[in-house]
């Protein structure tokens, strides 16, 4: 068993993480220290929960775990995973400011992450490709674990392509770990009730920088099953920090809402913030288009190499 950090240890570790070398977006990352700090404060609990799930999914390994992390930039979870589990991590990223239809040069890029004094820097390869469009540049059965953490909601056209390709590159016995915000979360309802915007703002780093399509628990399960994944675990979690209410009534309301969302009721569970799924591939890779998520399933590509020529 691997020991996993508690939240304070985790935040102290993440505070030291710097991307030392990244030819793709390194320059932009260097100028965004405040935004990155906010990013890991929001996601630290999600990452700890995910580490716990990976630990349960892979209790014993006799070699480094082969991991593909989709949408790995800014590499915080990459660094956390490498700290906890013996693994060989390959990342994928889309350069900021790319348009979804724009062809990318599919190429490996060396990335170096500084992890604080006394720790060796983490070296990994991050491939630039569009997971929604390109055939993943890896042979079949080449990974034990594919991580798709808060990535699917950024896709604009068809998440099925990314799932079918993840299925193809997963080795038998491998797993997909997926986290995604729940569209029906209580926080969205509260914002709407208060007359505030509930959708994500536009993001200057590119179209895929913002949440384009979130999912509900039922939609995600349907999508995974349609793409030939067996869902082994699907949990709804409360993992984001809540801003402290400034008024007494606000604090009472927050406490009441938190208590309600913790209740073991289906309605309350379905209003929690985040969906975490652990799924295993079965059969052949499949482009599944559940009609609840796709307006004209027959019009979407039937072969996951159809959008581009296979290399």
């Amino acid at each position: 068993m691997w020991p996993i950090y508690d939240l304070n240890q985790c935040l102290a570790y993440l505070h030291q993480i710097r991307v030392e070398h990244d030819d793709v977006d390194g320059e932009t990352l260097h100028g965004a220290r405040v935004e990155l700090e906010r990013f890991y404060l929001i996601h630290a609990r999600t990452w700890l929960r995910t580490l716990e799930i990976i630990r349960r999914g892979f209790p014993v390994i006799d070699r480094p775990l082969r991991v593909l992390e989709l949408g790995a930039m800014p590499y915080f979870f990459t660094a956390l995973l490498a700290e906890h589990i013996p693994c060989a991590i390959t990342g994928s990223t889309v350069p900021m400011m790319s348009w979804p239809g724009e062809p990318l040069e599919i190429a490996p890029q060396p990335v170096t992450i500084w992890r604080g004094k006394g720790r060796p820097s983490l070296e990994l390869t991050s491939w630039t490709f569009n997971i929604e469009k390109d055939v993943f540049p890896f042979p079949d059965d080449s990974f034990d674990l594919v991580l798709c953490m808060e990535v699917l909601e950024h896709l604009v056209y068809s998440p099925s392509h990314a799932l079918a390709e993840s299925h193809r590159v997963l080795a038998p016995g491998g797993h997909l770990v997926l986290t995604i915000p729940n569209y029906l979360r209580a926080n969205r309802l509260v914002q709407l009730l208060l007359g505030r915007p509930d959708d994500y703002p536009y993001v200057g780093s590119g179209i895929q920088g913002r949440h384009q399509h979130e999912f509900t628990q039922a939609e995600l399960r349907m999508l995974l099953e349609a793409c030939n994944f067996r869902v082994e675990r699907l949990e709804m979690a409360m993992v984001w920090p809540w801003s402290t209410a400034t008024t007494l009534s606000g604090r009472v309301f927050n406490a009441f809402l938190r208590g309600f969302l913790d209740l073991p009721l289906a309605y309350a569970r379905n209003r929690r913030e985040l969906i975490i799924a652990l799924a295993a591939p079965f059969g052949d890779p499949r482009l599944g288009y559940p009609s609840i998520l796709y307006d004209d399933p027959a019009a979407f590509p039937r072969d996951h190499g159809q959008l581009v020529e296979r290399p």
Binding site: E102, L192, P197, D199, R210, L293
Partner: protein, 297 residues
């Protein structure tokens, strides 16, 4: 067939794609008829006999409203549409083409510029239109609506007007749907990413954006105009929301399902990035000819 359907004999044949199915056109026109009627009523108030109004319609496809407009008012309409399958298709820049429109015995040919409104500048000279229509476009944008408003401001004549319609992100029907676990997101569309709604904006966000980009808002109404959904429960919830929001209570009026805005350009185009609407605004490409306020760039 209803009287409305009989009156609506529309055929649309774009030069750049196969003719649009007439049944689908009729369905679309029927669903949006309240929005179309409100817009034509507003445009009729601006109409003049000579010279005809020069109208630029952004996001014109499937050209239902274009056809109705040409039949109702004396005007010249230029259309801007997204190229078919803008994603997963490649970026193509600007293409000039046309669309043939038929309504009963009448026929028109309207010029069409195919381009991505979030990426390309409008291929028209400054102050070349009297009216810019931006009907049900804003909610489909995913990246950069400021570019659209700056460009609309630039191509509008100084006495011109912009007419905008968009769903109200704070509508009561949306709130009721979400409370009851009904998802209001559009499904992924095979015809491309701009065929689906990407973001629900609040009335205040729209007002801030439009006035920030160099417009003076003249009319700002919240109305019940949206098409009722077909599925039974969502339809009932929407109907209840519609009844409640017709009550003479100010807070309920704010929860109607559509907003209709008219605005006139004042001064030069300004690139506004309201902080509640944009993150990392400094990363956006600079808009040529627009004034920048504040230090976001």
């Amino acid at each position: 067939m209803s009287r409305f359907d009989r009156r609506l004999d529309i055929r649309v044949a774009p030069d750049y794609m196969p003719p649009i199915d007439q049944g689908a056109l009729l369905h679309y026109a029927r669903a949006h008829r309240a929005i179309f009627a409100a817009a034509i009523q507003q445009l009729a108030a601006w109409a003049r006999a000579d010279p005809p109004l020069r109208i630029l319609e952004l996001g014109a496809a499937p050209y239902c409203f274009t056809t109705l407009l040409l039949g109702a008012l004396r005007c010249e309409v230029t259309c801007v549409s997204a190229p078919p399958k803008v994603w997963p298709g490649e970026m193509v820049g600007v293409t000039h083409t046309h669309v043939d429109l038929h309504h009963g015995e009448q026929s028109w040919r309207a010029p069409v510029a195919l381009l991505n409104l979030e990426r390309e500048l409008l291929p028209f000279a400054d102050q070349s239109f009297d009216i810019v229509l931006c009907m049900d476009v804003l909610q489909n944008l995913a990246y950069h609506p400021t570019l659209l408003f700056c460009e609309a401001q630039r191509v509008l004549a100084r006495a011109g007007r912009m007419l905008l319609t968009a769903p109200n992100g704070l509508s009561l029907w949306r709130l009721l749907w979400l409370l009851c676990g009904v998802v209001d997101q559009d499904p992924f569309a095979a015809r491309g990413m701009y065929e689906r709604r990407q973001r629900s904006s609040t009335p205040q966000e729209v007002r801030d954006l439009v006035s920030g980009c160099g417009f003076r808002v003249e009319r700002f109404d919240l109305l019940n105009l949206g098409p009722l959904p077909g599925a039974r429960w969502p339809r009932r919830l929407s109907w209840v929301a519609r009844q409640l929001t017709t009550l003479p209570v100010a807070s309920l009026r704010q929860r109607r399902d559509y907003l209709l805005l008219t605005a006139e350009p004042i001064g030069p185009p300004r690139a506004a990035y309201p902080p509640q609407l944009y993150h990392y605004a400094r990363l956006y490409p600079r808009i040529p000819g627009a004034q920048y306020v504040g230090d976001q760039h």
